[in-house]
Symmetry: C2
Subunit: 254 residues, 2 copies
């Protein structure tokens, strides 16, 4: 059983797209739970779940009002379970500011489900706030999507600093599993330069599978389907399929 | 004098790119101040300012430790002044949680500078947290960059809800000035559909200038130059130039 936190405070780099795409390919062979910890709830809606004001969400888990078992929804079509998010998650940081052990809420909440899944993927908001720290504390390993853009490089040192702090104070075995290069555009020098730069900054940690810019990936959420279902022969689907195989292979060695 | 907050909680939609590009074109005719309120400090670095641990930032303004005058830096090459950001801004929300009037900190801090500028542009983080609420409380009007992607549609109703709440409790004259459609790719149906959808959701509010996807825009920050300097004949530069003209023309009518 491995829990991955998909993290990057830079916005729009492909966190949600990676959680949905990778999660769905892993679910072809393994039992997968997706945890949506972003108040935008894009992973929840990108998998086709409508907004429901009365539904329990990860907000209720963090505030200890409900158990994960009660919050979990099984996907009607694909073999993926989801802990959905909702906008009220945005208030959790301030609501928990006085709570002792506030960083451990998600970790404790997921304990009851650990035995049931081979993979748990946590989608994070574009921030290094308490929600992301909860994900890093609950996770075994971190996966960092990095857009092949200059501005995406800026935040990487701060992100690895945050991972170090969480490892020291909250989760001693937390490791960076790897970085996924996303929205790669082979026609521009910029993409190549960014990949080189990230490889030199994180030697041996950049996944071989590089995700190309592919419009099918941005269409898929409007159909509520992962890319492997929506456009299985697209370049985006193939890249995430390779990534899933790379992760599975690497996990065997662990 | 108009203060604009450039806001969208969805990540990576072109907030920073719009602040820098638009700000620089407005600065050709007017006195412009850019306020960076994002802990990622992308507007600060995208304009060529190096990270400086001892420099005063908008964090010091929010915590009332320094006056805007002391924080302000003049750009060495372009006629733009900047209130730079820094990563410690991320802590402001929790640090100000008990403070009465915490939403008015930026508004009060900028009062001393109002007379000096024709335009103040505030770059916001990808969130609807206290930093963004400070920007909305300090602003006269809101500009919303919207990426031509399906997931970018999801958060618009929540964003307009937040603007309504700020108008009711904190800033009674706040208005949505307009929405900028960004990263438009004419080859895909998706872009056209998203533009149509946003136009029907915000009738009369979508700027006529549409920003195309243009690699020059993503290269410019690595040179620390606005698009109008880095690649003045690019499609990205022309689009932002039209946008600046549209805003200036609209402001005359106000
Ligand atoms: N490889 C790709 N090619 C083309 N479009 C992509 C790709 N990956 C993601 N997208 C699109 O780019 C946008 C940003 O991706 P996504 O929402 O997954 O990023 P994110 O990091 O989760 O954003 P946020 O920071 O707001 O949570 C979305 O509209 C998505 O559909
Ligand atoms: N029209 C465009 N064409 C191509 N690339 C663009 C365009 N606008 C912005 N970009 C690039 O897309 C990425 C996201 O843009 P930007 O950082 O301005 O968005 P943002 O909304 O400020 O992100 P965040 O939510 O992280 O603050 C950046 O790498 C930027 O250089
Ligand atoms: Mg996301
Ligand atoms: Mg930005």
């Amino acid at each position: 059983m491995t829990t991955y936190a998909i993290v990057n405070q830079k916005g729009g780099v492909g966190k949600t797209t990676s959680v949905i795409s990778l999660g769905a390919f892993l679910a072809e062979k393994f039992r997968v739970l997706i945890v949506d910890l972003d108040p935008q709830a894009n992973a929840t809606s990108g998998l086709g779940f409508e907004r429901h004001p009365d539904r329990l969400t990860t907000y209720d888990l963090l505030l200890k009002e409900s158990a994960a078992e009660a919050i979990k929804v099984a996907h009607p079509h694909f073999r993926i379970d989801v802990l959905p998010a909702a906008p009220d998650l945005a208030g959790a940081e301030v609501e928990l500011v006085q709570a002792i052990g506030r960083e451990y809420r998600l970790r404790e909440g997921l304990e009851a489900l650990q035995e049931r899944y081979d993979y748990i993927l946590i989608d994070c908001p574009p921030s290094l706030n308490l929600l992301t720290v909860n994900a890093l504390t609950a996770a075994d390993q971190v996966i960092i999507p990095v857009q092949c853009e200059y501005l995406a490089l800026e935040g990487l040192s701060q992100l690895s600093e945050t991972v170090k702090m969480v490892r020291r104070y909250l989760n001693p075995t937390l490791e960076i599993r790897g970085l996924i290069m996303t929205m790669y555009d082979g026609r521009t020098n910029l993409s190549r330069q960014v990949v080189e730069e990230v490889r030199s900054y994180f030697p041996g940690k950049v996944f071989r599978a590089i995700i190309p810019r592919n419009v099918r990936l941005s269409e898929a959420p409007s159909h509520g389907e992962p890319i492997g279902i929506y456009a299985p022969d697209s370049s985006g689907a193939l890249a995430y399929k390779y990534l899933a195989a790379e992760i599975i292979k690497g996990d065997r060695k662990l």
